[in-house]
């Protein structure tokens, strides 16, 4: 008995190699980001029905979008970070620190022209990038967990911002910045600040979903070991991802300076949590490997619409925090269920699963 000739019985599995092609539309329906998008639409419809004259107006929509713009820029960076299964708690402080350094630089140069403003913009972004690289190096090379590194840099950046300013906000921001980026409009009413955010969101989404850089971001979050073994430079990639998050926080720093004409040092203490909540509500998995920029944008608008809608309909706006907290927990629960299902090789379509659970 040396050689067993494997006698083939009737085939149980038909060999059908990749014949089944899912349309992009059908795949979209399965995305948590898309499901949460439906929730957003429903919210908008409800508030529109309750307050048609005040909620469902162009100027109110404009307000909501404008208020979400800075968070959207931060959200793009955070989405990348969370897809690598990391976290960046430092973005609010880095925003403040970059804004402070930028404002001090512009004040030192003096002048109210585009030359000064351009230097201020570049300084803010570069300072943010530097913080991001600092985070990334500690996380990838020194192997300190991202939660700790960015908690540390959160404190450091905020403390240094206060040291630099003596705790007093810098209020002289060149008016070219405030009148254009701050509250300027183009095309008869579209806020410039929102256009900037839109550009960042679109580029962020294209890079994440269509380039090698984006693919490696998913790969590193999905299995660092698998990525390393095929030669992906995991450390370098993590540094770049945290640099993006820091650089975008720097950009957000100038946007905030321009919008509020002050460094608003104390104004960003909740920013990191709000952005993380948006990313997670949008379906990006805290465990890495999965997520979309589209989801993050939708995830930003849910709290924004709730806040705005509660104010307009006269509900105590504090309810917004309660509602957002609940949405956040539900979002993570859904992610958990999906991951468990995927691990068992079951259908990951949430609706079908919930229905089938009931009929058991």
């Amino acid at each position: 008995m040396t050689n067993i000739k494997t006698g083939m019985g009737p085939e149980t599995t038909s060999i059908e190699t990749a014949r089944q092609k899912e349309g992009p539309f059908k795949r979209m329906l399965k995305l948590q980001a898309f499901q949460i998008f439906i929730v957003l639409i429903v919210l908008v419809l409800i508030f529109s029905a309750l307050a048609p004259e005040s909620f469902a107006t162009l100027s109110n929509l404009r307000l909501v979008v404008q208020n979400a713009s800075i968070l959207a820029v931060l959200g793009v960076g955070m989405t990348y970070v969370i897809i690598t299964s990391g976290i960046d708690l430092s973005i609010g402080s880095v925003l403040v620190f970059s804004g402070v350094v930028s404002a001090l630089t512009m004040r030192a140069i003096g002048g109210d022209d585009w030359g000064t403003a351009a230097i201020g913009v570049v300084v803010s972004i570069v300072v943010g990038l530097a913080w991001g690289i600092f985070n990334g190096v500690l996380i990838s090379k020194a192997k300190v967990p991202p939660l700790i590194v960015t908690l540390g840099s959160l404190g450091m950046a905020l403390g240094l911002a206060q040291i630099l300013t003596g705790g007093v906000d810098v209020r002289d921001v060149p008016s070219v910045l405030t009148t254009t980026i701050g509250y300027g409009n183009i095309l008869g009413g579209i806020p410039v600040i929102s256009v900037i955010a839109l550009v960042v969101v679109v580029i962020g989404a294209l890079v994440l979903h269509y380039t090698k850089f984006g693919l490696y971001t998913y790969a590193v979050g999905s299995s660092e070991e698998a990525a390393r073994r095929v030669g992906v430079k995991v450390d370098q990639h993590l540094i770049r991802v945290y640099a993006i998050s820091g650089g975008l926080a720097g950009l957000a720093g100038v946007m905030s300076l321009s919008q509020f004409s002050t460094t608003a040092i104390a104004g960003q203490s909740q920013t990191n949590l709000n952005v993380i909540a948006a990313v997670v509500i949008g379906g990006t998995s805290l465990f890495g490997g999965y997520g979309t920029i589209f989801g993050t944008v939708v995830g930003l608008f849910i709290p924004a619409v709730l806040q705005n809608g509660f104010v307009i309909t006269g509900i105590q706006p504090f309810w917004q925090q309660v509602a957002v907290g609940a949405v956040l927990i539900v979002a993570v629960y859904i992610d958990q269920v999906r991951r468990a299902a995927a691990a068992r090789g079951q259908s990951t379509n949430l609706w079908r699963r919930l229905v089938s659970r009931k009929s058991e």
């Binding site: 190699t17 990749a18 693919l215 299995s223 990525a227 999965y290």
Partner: protein
């Protein structure tokens, strides 16, 4: 005799008090299937990791095509044409089969698109499809994440990837462990086909019938040390089992 394409002399590696490799020798020849067998914990996976750039050894020498080399990373091994299917497969569960197949070696688009990092997804997809077809793999969808596939499908993806990229040596660490009868037959056929291309195949398995069926040469590892090298045509299962368990000893070591 021809020079071995890959050769190890006196490899040792300890994990704490456990000597996973103890002065182990090993060699593989082009166009041959070498089975590497041994009990659980004999050091087979450790040897594969050492020879594929995934693990530093404490002492010993590795030669590639007769030349001594330092294998320090899996990328370096890949560049030499050495590919590995790890026992834990090492796939990224959230990525689809095509993305896993090409991870780290993406085909880029030409011109401006490629310069900004756009990948040639269609080309990668069609080439992957050919690779899976050749293997007769039951990979149903090229767009679902491998994490939600069955163990056997995942194994097929990992094998297809290794076979696709290797041109000198393929290590297959228990490649048939999760496979059905038909898929196992496909893998064994693939092993022969790869061998016939002149590539050295290292096949690790606990299934003696499979080992007897497909290999040209059998190397037995026991407690981290090579216990025997046998010509597959002139041995039998009783002898192999005896050597693995230490009930008998024989041959070069």
């Amino acid at each position: 005799m021809t020079t071995p394409v890959l050769e190890a002399r006196g490899l040792s590696r300890a994990f704490g008090h456990v000597l996973a490799l103890d002065d182990a020798d090993f060699e593989v020849y082009p166009g041959e299937v070498t089975a590497l067998i041994g009990d659980n914990g004999a050091g087979k996976s450790t040897l594969v990791k050492a020879l594929s750039g995934n693990l530093a050894v404490d002492s010993g020498e590795i030669k590639f095509a007769g030349e001594p080399i330092q294998l320090t990373s899996p990328t370096q091994a890949s560049a030499l044409g050495i590919e590995t299917v790890y026992q834990d497969l090492a796939l990224a569960p959230h990525l689809d089969p095509v993305q896993n197949m090409y991870l780290g070696r993406e085909l880029m688009r030409g011109g401006l698109g490629g310069a900004v990092g756009l990948m040639n997804v269609n080309e990668m997809r069609s080439q992957s499809r050919v690779a899976f077809d050749e293997l007769g793999a039951t990979v149903r969808s090229l767009t679902t994440p491998v994490g939600s596939m069955s163990g056997g499908q995942r194994q097929a993806v990992a094998i297809a990837r290794a076979v696709h990229w290797a041109n000198k040596v393929v290590f297959l660490d228990e490649p048939t462990a999760a496979l059905g009868v038909r898929q196992t037959k496909n893998v064994l056929e693939t092993i022969r086909r790869v061998r016939d291309k002149g590539i050295a195949v290292v096949f690790i398995s606990h299934s003696m019938p499979h080992v007897m069926e497909v290999s040209d040469r059998v190397q037995v590892l026991r407690l981290g040390h090579r216990a025997a090298v046998l010509d597959a045509k002139h041995t039998n299962m009783e002898e192999l089992v005896g050597l693995m368990t230490g009930a008998s000893t024989k041959g070069a070591a």
